[in-house]
Amino acid sequence: MPDRRKRRLSILSPQDVEQIINEAIQTLEEIGVYVENDTAIELLDGSGAKVSDDRKRVFISAELCDRCVESAPSSFSLFNREGDEVASIGGEMVIFDPGSAAISVYDFAKKQIRKPNTKDAIEFVALTDQLPSYAAQSTGIVPNDVPDSLADRYRLFLSLVYGSKPVITGTFEKDAFGVMLSMLIACRGGTDALAAKPLAIFDCCPSPPLMWSDLTCQALIDCARNGVPAETVSMPLSGATAPVTITGSLVQHTAESLSGLVIHQLANPGAPIVYGGAPAIFDMRKATTPLGAVETMMIDIAYAQIGKTLGLPVHAYMGLSDAKLPDYQAGFETAMGATLAALAGVNIVSGPGMLNFVSCQSLEKLVLDHEICAMTHRLIDGIAFRETTAGFDALKDFADSASRSFMTTEHTRRFFRDEVYYPSDVVDRGTQGDWEQGGSTRASERAHAKVRELLDNPELSLADDDLIGELEAIITADAKNFGVHELPDWRVLLTK
């Protein structure tokens, strides 16, 4: 995968960034954050942070913040299940992964939103695996045919059986981390091997405003101590759980992210961490949190700029939509977000496939969004100067030749494939005649055909039998704790 190094978009001035960081640190020093986890409180207490008498609130100094920002790595690499490096996370590298964790799916054939099952989750993994512009997968669908409290580890199990790409995931329950960690270790053969070649990133979400819950603190600490990359996902909702102004939301986001980073780095200095987020404005008419709003995207690219100023890898939930099905709105909100994210140099962009306020995945949208991501990659690859002259030699050679069109010049033949990204047939670039012959379809219908094509005869990256056996032993043993003695049919695509 080519390295994409040039950032092209900064929405804040350096002075703006400085003011927001300073006010965030002032917030941590004077207002403090609520921390519900005893281990985290002890770590903070022992490192010079001031803890309130009821031991619920922590005041973090500028000096402690600086120290932890300093110890956090500016980049780390992700590796696939087989141990091959997939991408370096940091700098100006941009990768896309599908949005996580949907509690429903848009069933294209039935034209309705419904609860997903194991088969939906498997198809989602298999599809992601076959779409090359997604460098990572996510545990993006929460299957409804196992208990909720088992779902976090179960979806990771399905991802590791059916997909090779590194996984963006997270925990729903405090005890899930151990189980999920043992699955990841099974893939690598040991804790050290896993830390040396990270296979998954865990999202850890603070509770706005300014609180780190027991569950997410524990996830931060567990990740840090095992060298598993963590991703703080601060989600201020402007006007509901955060100040209504964009700048106010940014100060809160910065304070929440920095406090998470401090807890994480105190648990294990130098452990990999991503400066992420899922903020949104709050729609005061509908009481919803639109991820597709332009102001949401402005908050996203602004905090990304802040994270990059701090020298950290950054993540954002962008390239998704609040539409309920893959329609025009879904397309424009996704394309705006993905393009802005890439131009802003967001290292991990999570969102493709997602609809309905990060709650609903659509396989058709995942296929359509893949084209957006591929075009976005082309965009940030930039304009190449392929020869000594930008165009003079090409014009001169043409003038000197007998060619009547550039189509038949050697220059064209040499460069045309590299200059232009050619999308799949999901994107209509044919003539009217082609379109009519193809049944006068809309993009989502072509995407549906592509989904069926890729899933009816999938090229699967299945885990080998031994690994499947190990993973199965882990999940079946754990499932029994939840009274599940037989898992749903997770072998459904194994024979394809």
Binding site: R404, S405, T412, R413, D425, T431, Q432, G433
Partner: protein, 213 residues
């Protein structure tokens, strides 16, 4: 021999004009049956290039290079071909041009090249061709096929005008008419009384073969 024919095919498929001409010269020098060289060698290459284009594997520049290589090989072989048997086995004469008011040439050029590469004799009138020139060329050249291209909706009316003019001149039935260009459709073709429509260069060859057979 089989190896030599495969080399001919590949030279066209690779769009390597020099190699194609070199092989054609060698065929003549070695006294190989020219018709075999074309039909079992070069022509196989151009057909496969067309197939690859239809499958989306080849793009226009690659198709154009293959067609140019084929054309160059054919030109080299032509004297020997005529010597060996009559007129060089042309599949038919085609008069082709872009209609008046339209300077767009590329699609038409590609159609002309592909037709030539597939054994048609081409009289290319170029772009922005006056209506009455089409009519007079049909009278003078007595082609088997007239191909008219229009890229703009404003100029495509010219295709209808020319067909009407051919009828008025009493020569409409002496020639088949094929139309093309971005705004043209199958329906438009039948509305204006053309014999066929093709929306790309490979389809044009298929269509020409079909309506002249």
């Amino acid at each position: 021999m089989r190896e030599f024919l495969a080399e001919c095919k590949n030279a066209v498929l690779d769009g390597d004009r020099e190699r194609a001409v070199g092989l054609a010269v060698r065929a003549i020098d070695d006294g190989i049956e020219v018709l075999d060289v074309i039909e079992q060698g070069f022509a196989v290459g151009i057909r496969e290039a067309g197939d690859r284009w239809e499958k989306g594997e080849y793009f226009l520049p690659e198709l154009a290079f293959s067609a140019e290589s084929m054309k160059a090989a054919m030109e080299t072989l032509r004297p020997a071909l005529i010597e060996s048997g009559g007129k060089g086995r042309s599949k038919g004469t085609v008069v082709i041009g872009t209609v008046q008011g339209d300077i767009h040439d590329i699609g038409k050029m590609l159609v002309a090249t592909m037709l030539a590469a597939n054994g048609y004799e081409i009289v290319d009138l170029g772009a922005d061709v006056a209506h009455d020139r089409f009519v007079s060329e049909v009278k003078n050249q007595q082609p088997d096929l007239l191909c008219m291209s229009a890229l703009l909706t404003t100029t495509m009316m010219g295709q209808k005008t020319i067909i009407d003019m051919l009828s008025e001149a009493g020569i409409r039935n002496s020639v088949k008419v094929l139309i093309g260009g971005a705004p043209a459709t199958e329906t438009w073709a039948s509305d204006i009384g053309a014999d066929g429509y093709a929306d790309n260069a490979v389809a044009a060859v298929h269509k020409a073969d079909e309506i002249l057979s």
